[in-house]
């Protein structure tokens, strides 16, 4: 059946293995046939994933620099590959920031330019002269560029906190600063928070300086421009004046001189030229004046604006500018008044010339009416005239003279009236002119006074400042003196106090010292006594120690000898007894010469053990095992039963009787326990469990032949037991003595 099963199992195993092999082969074949396509597919897929991974990493590294850095750090040759693909990493990081910075700056510059140009145009009310315009814009540009350079240089120093005063350039500067600072590292902001105030002050100073600089520049500009304009105006006015005077002079000349007609015509031509000159120069002067006025107005507005800023440091500048303005205004007015007076004079002369011309013409008409054939310039024709004409002319002349005399008289009267009227008119005009002059003069005076006042105010302020400073210094000096005095007094007081303290303390210290010394002496004597006593005690202790040591040494020696004795017991081999204990016992005796107990114990050692040695328990045990069978065999034999037949019966009994090899002995032996077989089994048990004493006791209960047989064993056992007991006692005693002598730590 088993075989059948086995066979069946084998068969099935074979079949299954065959199938498996087949399937394996089939699968292998499948693998082999599909292997090529499968492998190529796998290889292709692998390559694709790898390239895709690498390409993706490169693209992502191009986009995210942190990722690139991480990849370069972690993958060994990636930096080479990424460097090939994308270019070095550091440039990419640096360029954008710089570009940002650059992009920030131009817009700010442009912004500023636009802003400042707007402001300038507002201030200057649309400049008329291009050079004037271009100059300010150039100045603005220069200013802006200067400011920009200032800002760029100050980036490393100044904090990115916007300035407290809200001026345009400062705001623009702050904006630029902020942008550049934010573009750069943000850490200095956090680290420099403690220097904010200083930085702010510096910034304020810087701003003020900037403002003042700009202000001064502007003032200078406007001053220069207005000065130029005024100079131009003045020049023009003076030219006009010159022209007018020349013209009037020429006119006067032309009127008064009576020369030949060519000269006259040249004179008239000159006059006309002079007139034209005058008109042009007057126009030029007018335009120049207008310009100058505009410039002055502009300057004034600039001054007002700068005054509105209320910066103390700029006041002298403003003051100077104002003075200049005033001077220019005054000069301009002077020149204008001169020109006006010249013009009025010219008007008078012109009127005079007109009148003269009119009279001439009138006379000519009259003469022509009288003598039509006489031509206009009748003076040259005096040689060609006839007597009639002459008489007529003389009569006419007389008539004319009469007429003229009458007219003269009339004129005198009228003239008086006219004179009065003219005087009145003149007075009125004069008054007007006077008023105007007075007005302008008062204005000028007022201006001067105001300027003076301001100057005086400034001086006074300075003086007061100086005074204040001196006073403060004086006060400070006084304060220091006072403080010094107070300190001196305090020092005195403190010194006195300290000295007092010191003396008292010294006294105290002295008394204490004396006390201490006394105490010390007492203590010293006490200590000496104590030390002496201690010394004595120590000596005693040492002596006792020495004794104790001696005792300890003795105990130790005793212990050692006892140990040696114990050891000699162990020298017992399986069959032979131990070495004789004589020497060890001698050693023990030697080590306890004054110890009665130990001596007694040592003497209690049995002779046999001393001479011959003792058997070990193991040997006794072995011996007992052999004894046991013998004792069993002679169990029936005793005094009464000791025939040979009894011996035979005893042997048979031993052969047929089975008892337990080992039996636990009872605590109390009963009578039926005294059976030798039982006793032997008890004894065997005791021996097996190491209780030689009990075994000996039990064996001692054997009677008869069995007893005789085990007699020797019993004596040996007794001997061993005795020796062991004595030795254990000695050892215990030695241990006790040793414990007694050892000092507890």
């Amino acid at each position: 059946m088993l075989r059948v099963c086995l066979r069946g199992v084998k068969a099935t195993a074979q079949k299954s293995s065959g199938r498996i092999r087949l399937t394996n082969v089939q699968q292998c074949r499948e693998y082999t046939t599909g292997e090529s396509s499968g492998a190529s597919r796998v290889v292709a897929a692998g390559l694709l994933t790898v390239t895709g991974g690498i390409g993706g990493t490169i693209i992502y590294a191009k986009w995210d620099h942190k990722f690139r850095a991480a990849v370069e750090k972690n993958v060994p040759y990636s930096e080479w590959l990424l460097g090939l693909a994308l270019g070095p990493a550091s440039q990419d990081a640096g360029l954008p920031i710089r570009k940002q910075m650059e992009s920030i700056q131009p817009p700010s510059m442009m912004e500023k330019q636009m802003r400042t140009s707007k402001a300038k145009s507002e201030k200057k009310l649309k400049e008329t002269t291009e050079p004037a315009l271009s100059q300010p814009t150039q100045n603005i540009q220069a200013e802006a560029s200067a400011e920009a350079t200032q800002i760029i240089s100050a980036i490393s120093e100044v904090q990115s906190i916007p300035a407290p005063c809200d001026t345009e350039p400062a705001a623009a500067a702050a904006a630029v600063l902020q942008e550049t600072e934010s573009a750069g590292a943000a850490e200095p902001l956090r680290e420099r928070s403690a220097e904010e105030v200083a930085a702010r002050l510096a910034q304020q100073n810087q701003d003020e300086k900037d403002i003042i600089a700009s202000l001064s520049a502007r003032l200078d500009d406007s001053l220069a421009s207005s000065a130029k304009a005024t100079l131009q105006a003045i020049g023009a006015q003076e030219a006009a004046l010159q022209a007018i005077t020349q013209h009037t002079h020429k006119l006067k000349e032309a009127m008064e001189t009576e020369g030949p007609t060519e000269e006259k015509s040249t004179q008239w031509k000159d006059l006309e030229a002079a007139l034209a000159d005058r008109t042009t120069s007057v126009n030029v002067a007018k335009t120049a004046l207008v310009k100058a006025n505009e410039a002055l107005d502009g300057l004034k507005s600039v001054i007002d604006k700068s005054r509105g800023l209320k910066i103390t440091a700029a006041r002298p500048l403003i003051l100077a500018a104002e003075e200049n303005l005033h001077k220019m205004v005054v000069d301009l007015d002077k020149v204008v008044s001169k020109v006006q007076s010249a013009e009025s004079e010219a008007k008078i002369v012109a009127q005079y010339t007109e009148l003269v011309n009119e009279a001439k013409q009138q006379f000519q008409r009259e003469v022509s009416s009288l003598t039509p054939e006489i031509q206009a310039n009748w003076k040259g024709l005096t040689g060609k005239l006839s007597t009639d004409d002459l008489n007529a002319l003389i009569a006419h002349a007389h008539r004319r003279i009469d007429q003229l005399n009458r007219e003269l008289a009339e004129q005198r009267v009228r003239g008086q009236i006219h004179m009065e009227a003219a005087l009145e008119q003149q007075r009125a005009e004069d008054q007007k002119a006077l008023d105007k002059a007075v007005g302008t003069a008062t204005q000028h005076v007022k201006e001067e006074a105001r300027l003076d006042q301001e100057r005086k105010l400034a001086e006074l302020r300075e003086v007061i400042e100086a005074e204040m400073r001196t006073q403060l210094r004086r006060q400070a000096a006084a304060h220091t003196d006072h403080v010094r005095d107070v300190l001196k007094v305090q020092e005195q007081e403190l010194r006195a106090e300290a000295e007092q303290d010191l003396s008292s303390k010294l006294l105290e210290q002295e008394t204490r010292y004396r006390q201490l010394t006394q105490e010390q002496l007492d203590d010293f004597t006490l200590d000496m006594n104590a030390a002496y006593a201690r010394l004595k005690g120590v000596e005693e202790a040492i002596d006792s120690h020495v004794e104790a040591e001696e005792e300890a040494r003795k105990a130790h020696r005793l212990w050692l000898s006892v140990e040696a004795l114990t050891y000699t017991l162990k020298t017992a081999s399986a069959e032979s007894p131990s070495m004789p204990l004589e020497d060890a016992a001698e050693a023990v005796r030697a080590s306890c010469v004054d110890n009665d107990f130990a001596l007694a114990l040592t003497s209690a050692l049995p002779e046999e053990s001393l001479k011959r040695g003792v058997y070990s328990e193991a040997s006794l045990r072995a011996r007992f095992n052999s004894l046991r069978s013998l004792a069993r065999r002679v169990a029936l034999i005793d005094e009464s039963h000791n025939t040979l037949y009894q011996y035979f019966l005893s042997y048979v009994q031993a052969a047929l009787l089975f008892e337990r090899q080992q039996e636990v002995p009872p605590t109390q032996l009963r009578s039926e326990d005294l059976d030798p077989f039982k006793l032997l089994s008890y004894a065997s048990y005791c021996l097996e469990h190491g209780d030689l004493e009990l075994a000996a006791k039990l064996v001692n209960q054997l009677r008869g032949e069995a007893r005789r047989v085990v007699e020797d064993w019993l004596t040996e056992a007794r001997l061993t037991l005795e020796t062991r007991q004595v030795i254990s006692l000695l050892s215990a005693y030695a241990n006790a003595v040793g414990l007694g002598t050892t000092q507890a730590p």
Binding site: L627, N642, T643, L644, Y647, E705, R708, E711, W713
Partner: protein, 76 residues
């Protein structure tokens, strides 16, 4: 050793027995041959006697410890 005494005794008994039996046998044979016309009874007699003597000796030997001699008794 006390335990070896018995063994020694038994050895002695055995030796003694063998000797006595041999001697008896020998004497018996001699006597049977010499005096009793080759009858078996002296052989058996003498061997028996020898054996008996051996037994008695053995027993005595084994008992010897328990026997109090008169001299000892007298001394006690």
């Amino acid at each position: 050793m006390s335990e070896k005494e018995l063994g020694k005794k038994l050895d002695r008994c055995l030796a003694d027995g063998v000797v006595k039996l041999g001697t008896g046998l020998g004497l018996g044979i001699v006597f049977s041959v010499l005096f009793f016309k080759r009858r078996t009874w002296p052989i058996t007699l003498f061997s028996g006697a020898g054996l008996g003597m051996a037994y008695a000796n053995c027993q005595h030997d084994l008992r010897s410890h328990y026997l109090l001699h008169t001299s000892e008794q007298q001394e006690q």
